[in-house]
């Protein structure tokens, strides 16, 4: 960081702000001064607790103190709604102390219609929002007026946004803002990343400012009295130990990986909370009111601990957290370090964090992760700043048309100024425009098959009423559909959301966990799940899936090395050593240099496990390749599940010898066709088609009933593949799926690195294979095996009904 810049910053700091710092007994951080003096765009990399957000807003406060401003001055964009609430609260204090008469408002999916309408007419000086809400605001004809006077944009947690299409959308929005507001200045705030210049390029070029990272964190495994279970689990075995740790700390954040785990762990904690310590629960499925209550209680210092998922993961400033407990393996070393940044906001003291592995495999992952942290061996970024998604570009073109007629050349020029789209070709842009305008189909017989039309050189919406439908489809998060959960009865309190697929499998009387309490499912009414609290009963189910995390390749390699080397097992707790001993007894231990395979029967299905330790993506590809070969061999593969360390395939008939199936030549044959028809591809298509605007998101309330329900994206995919194989969306699907999968070269590399194939025939599920059975994200194979399975099931039902002779 430049000392000259800091000196300049100290000089340009208005005396009101200097006085305010003095009154807090604070010394401005060097990076805060640096940002104050910065001309042009800046990327600030600072640990949590480094006053990052204040650094982003200091220039705004300084400018507003010096020059009164008419209209919107600063736009703040964060990946989380919760962050915007938090920032509004934290900013209001200095603003009030400085005597600034300005408005700070947030604008998210939670903001009321009246308030949104008013913001469009009379925007506040500081507006806090999310990428999706920004995209929506930019799609209104009033956008030039709202954003015309904009001076600054603050982008928070940009490292998180840059990992997904949400970031692509934000960068396109930023390009639009630069067109609307001349001389716009951008400050992006980020946690530590491997390659800061790449991130700066991704945001369209910026000067990188790196803050002092502070002392190294104090991370260890939590001492736990009981050993973790063999597999699965949400760390409930450790509830008492976690409770003791909470009691000994001032304020503890307990992180878990999924929403369901958060619910279960929260319940387990309360069961041992004999001292009745105030403990809260916070996750993305909870109703907004409930989340807000927990956030307020925490900010007021009324809580001793919060059990949270990723919804609290991103830099929310909670004040006095002095301990972070991570339940279940962090899956990714960098994520672990970032989470730990949450602890201890005085950033001169080391952060304290304890990890609680949820099962014995995770113990190995934790030990490996801790060794990596100690060795400063962070995960590399496999996929450094990929180019922007063209499906997002299609959406952007449609949204631009909603705001008003546009000129294709001008829009193309604007899009090229967005970092991720700097390299997009005119041909690719024209493809996207054609898709937005006509659907991009080879067969187009009608004028009415046009969503955009060109008149007088400008592109218009053919039917202005279409704007509403386009806006409803905004965003790049293609999450599963959610249904609201309320207490039964008139005006019953909202409790949160569950996934539609989960709601669909409930029968009246079923119990599940919601907001930390057991509730009984009563009925589905107007697309709302109605429930009654039922505390006395054990919950039957709590299976709504949360974010699925992938263990990094680096960590997987460390895990393999640790498992394969009994000499290194001293670092592992006794129960984990015993578990590995058991694996060695029943089957074999995977070793570096070998590809270990196991076969065993489970129920009436045959299982094959290949321990490649090549990471989830490569294992997914391997699963597709192996099932193709098994299908050819008539073994009836039914599906597979890939984890970071292995792939497990189940089939009607067993594999007698895995070696021929793993021969590189036979793996490669006919690959393209098989890939095109598989479930991974169809999943990718669904996402691409939703973002690009082919499939409408289902919105509660406007859903049609019964047979009109939804178009099957699988059928649309198959239809396109047959009649229009070169369609833009199919090309995008291939690109996307290949990004998630791994090219064949990687598999060949793995096979070359592990030349010896070891095959163990196990009597039943093995200790190492057990965790795989609990993984989410099964890929189903629709082949001969599925047909045989359905026929077998039909025969069974007919026999049970005494109708076997009718078959």
């Amino acid at each position: 960081m430049s000392e000259a810049a800091q000196a300049l910053g100290a000089e340009v700091m208005p005396r009101e702000i200097a006085a305010w710092f003095a009154a807090q007994h604070w010394q401005p951080h060097p990076h805060q001064l640096d940002l104050l003096a910065a001309q042009g765009d800046v990327l600030l990399m600072a640990p949590t607790g480094g006053g990052k957000t204040l650094a982003g807003f200091l220039p705004t406060l300084a400018q507003l103190l010096q020059d009164p401003h008419e209209g919107l001055h600063t736009l703040y964009v964060s990946p989380l709604k919760a962050l915007t609430h938090d920032i509004a609260r934290n900013l209001s204090r200095p603003v009030a102390d400085l005597g600034l008469s300005i408005r700070i408002e947030d604008r998210t999916g939670d903001t009321s219609q009246t308030r949104r309408a008013r913001q469009r007419v009379d925007p506040p000086e500081i507006l806090l929002t999310t990428p999706e809400s920004l995209a929506l605001m930019l799609s209104y004809p009033e956008a030039p007026r709202i954003f015309g006077a904009l001076k600054r944009v603050v982008i928070d947690e940009i490292h998180a946004l840059a990992e997904s299409k949400r970031g692509d959308q934000l960068m396109l929005g930023l390009a639009r803002l630069r067109s609307l507001a001349q001389g716009l200045q951008v400050a992006a705030l980020s946690a530590t990343v491997e390659n800061p210049p790449a991130l700066a390029r991704w945001m369209g070029g910026a000067r990188v400012v790196e803050a002092d990272p502070g002392p190294p964190p104090d991370i260890a495994m939590l001492d736990v009295a009981r050993p973790p279970p063999w597999s699965g689990g949400g760390g409930r075995h450790a509830a008492q130990d976690v409770m003791d740790a909470i009691a000994a700390a001032r304020l503890t954040l307990v992180f878990v990986n999924t929403r369901a785990q958060a619910e279960l762990f929260f319940q387990a904690l309360w069961a041992v909370n004999d001292a009745n310590l105030p403990i809260g629960l916070h996750h993305g499925s909870l109703a907004r009111e409930t989340r807000a209550r927990v956030e307020a209680a925490m900010a007021a210092g009324a809580l001793r601990a919060v059990v949270a998922t990723g919804s609290l993961d991103l830099g929310i400033d909670w004040g006095d957290v002095d301990l972070v407990i991570q339940v279940a393996a962090p899956k990714n070393i960098k994520r672990l370090v970032q989470r730990i940044g949450r602890a201890n906001h005085r950033y001169d003291a080391p952060s304290r964090a304890r990890i609680v592995p949820a099962n014995r495999f995770e113990v190995i992952e934790c030990v490996a992760a801790l060794q990596a942290v100690a060795a400063h061996d962070l995960d590399g970024e496999d996929d450094a700043r990929r180019p922007g998604g063209l499906d997002v570009l299609c959406q952007q073109i449609l949204l631009t048309a909603c705001a008003g007629p546009f000129d294709a050349d001008a829009l193309f020029a604007e899009i090229r100024t967005a970092g991720p789209y700097g390299g997009v070709s005119r041909a690719a842009f024209d493809d996207c425009l054609d898709f937005a305008a006509t659907g991009g189909y080879a067969l187009r017989a009608y004028d009415r098959w046009q969503r955009l039309v060109q008149r007088d050189g400008l592109w218009h919406l053919r039917d202005p009423r279409a704007a509403r439908a386009i806006r409803m489809n905004i965003g790049t998060i293609t999450d599963t559909e959610k249904l609201k959960v309320r207490r039964s009865g008139r005006g019953g309190a909202p409790l949160g959301e569950v996934e539609e697929a989960f709601a669909a499998q409930l029968s009246p009387g079923d119990t599940f966990l919601m907001g930390g309490q057991t509730v009984r499912y009563d009925r589905l009414r107007d697309m709302v799940v109605e429930v009654t609290p039922n505390p006395s009963r054990q919950p039957k189910i709590a299976v709504f899936s949360g974010t699925k995390l992938a263990t990094s390749t680096r960590l997987s390699e460390r895990v393999l090395a640790l498992i394969g080397d009994p000499g290194a097992w001293d670092a592992l707790p006794g129960h984990t050593r015993e578990w590995l001993e058991l694996q060695r007894e029943i089957s074999v231990l995977p070793q570096p240099g070998t590809l270990t395979c196991e076969t065993f029967l489970r129920g009436d299905q045959a299982c094959l496990v290949a321990y490649s330790f090549a990471g989830r993506n490569a294992n997914q590809t391997l699963g597709l390749l192996l099932t193709r070969r098994m299908e050819q061999a008539g073994l009836g593969p039914l599906g597979f599940i890939a984890s970071d360390y292995a792939v497990l395939i189940w089939s009607v008939d067993p594999v007698d010898d895995p070696a021929p199936f793993l021969a590189p030549d036979s793996l490669r044959e006919g690959l393209a066709d098989w890939l095109a028809g598989n479930a991974v591809m169809k999943r990718a298509f669904r996402d691409v088609a939703t973002v690009a605007g082919l499939l409408q998101r289902n919105l509660p309330g406007q859903r049609k009933s019964g047979r009109q329900a939804t178009f099957s994206s699988d059928i649309i995919y198959d239809t396109l593949r047959r009649h229009d194989p070169d369609h833009l969306l199919l090309r995008l699907t291939r690109t996307e799926a290949m990004r998630g999968l791994v090219d064949f070269g990687r598999i060949e590399q793995m096979l070359a690195d592990r030349p010896r194939i070891v095959h163990a025939r196990a009597p039943h599920v093995t200790p190492l294979a057990a965790p795989l059975l609990l993984e989410a994200g099964r890929v189903r194979i629709e082949g001969e095996g599925a047909e045989r399975l359905i026929e077998r099931e039909a025969a069974r039902l007919m026999a049970e009904a005494g109708l076997a002779d009718l078959m």
Binding site: Y446, A469, L694, Q696, G706, S712, T719, L720, L803
Partner: protein, 214 residues
């Protein structure tokens, strides 16, 4: 005569009928093929109403499958149980190729178009034949009838497929159209019409199942 292979034979209203894996019904004694809910022109209707631009290939797809069924069964008659077009405008908006394919089908066999709720203007509402009534929507208390309309589906071994529902009074066909959604076989309205009997799952082979399933 069609037996085994892709079809499943059963008795309904005193008649021998064959539910085919493709979703059509064959009636050997009448040498008649029956299909329900083609919904031709669905993507065109969506586009016209300013909705999403679905790939406009489904009419071609549905007609090709219907042609293949005619080739396989060589019936003297074809009866389409209503909702042949997604709406009346869609009927006029067929491409020339699709129109020609449809005309060729009608020229090949004697074809009866029954009216559905989507395409109200065309064809009679019902037709009685050998003690059975063919119509678009089953009428409670006026069976035995053969109908479509509900697009029944059923999940087995985790896979959901269009299904025939065969009760004492009603035989309900799955939708034959390409982009049609479905209604669960045990939705209240379907349970009321067919409380017990057989379900015949479509697919590579037509598979009978007992109703109710458990």
């Amino acid at each position: 005569m069609i037996e085994g292979g892709a079809g499943y034979g059963f008795r309904f209203g005193g008649q021998h009928l064959v539910a085919r894996g493709s979703g059509t019904l064959y009636w050997p004694d009448q040498d008649m093929l029956i299909a329900a809910d083609l919904h031709l022109g669905k993507s065109e209707r969506m586009a016209r109403r300013g909705g999403t631009l679905l790939p406009p290939f489904e009419t071609r797809e549905t007609l090709a499958r219907l042609g293949a069924e005619l080739t396989a069964t060589r019936p003297a008659r074809l009866v389409l149980l209503g909702d042949i077009f997604d709406d009346d405008l869609a009927a006029h908006a067929l491409t020339e190729t699709d129109r020609a394919t449809l005309d060729a089908i009608a020229a090949r066999v004697e074809t009866l178009f029954l009216a559905g709720n989507h395409d109200v203007a065309s064809g009679p509402v019902d037709w009685a034949c050998a003690g059975l009534v063919l119509r678009h929507i089953a009428v409670s208390g006026q069976g035995p009838d053969i109908s479509g309309h509900y697009h029944p589906k059923l999940s087995l071994a985790g896979r959901s497929r269009p299904v025939f529902l065969v009760g004492r009074d009603h035989l309900i066909l799955p939708a034959f159209g390409h982009y049609t959604g479905g209604l669960a076989h045990d939705a209240p309205v379907l349970r009321a019409l067919v409380p017990a009997g057989l379900a015949v799952l479509t697919g590579r082979r037509a598979l009978p199942l007992p109703l109710p399933l458990r």
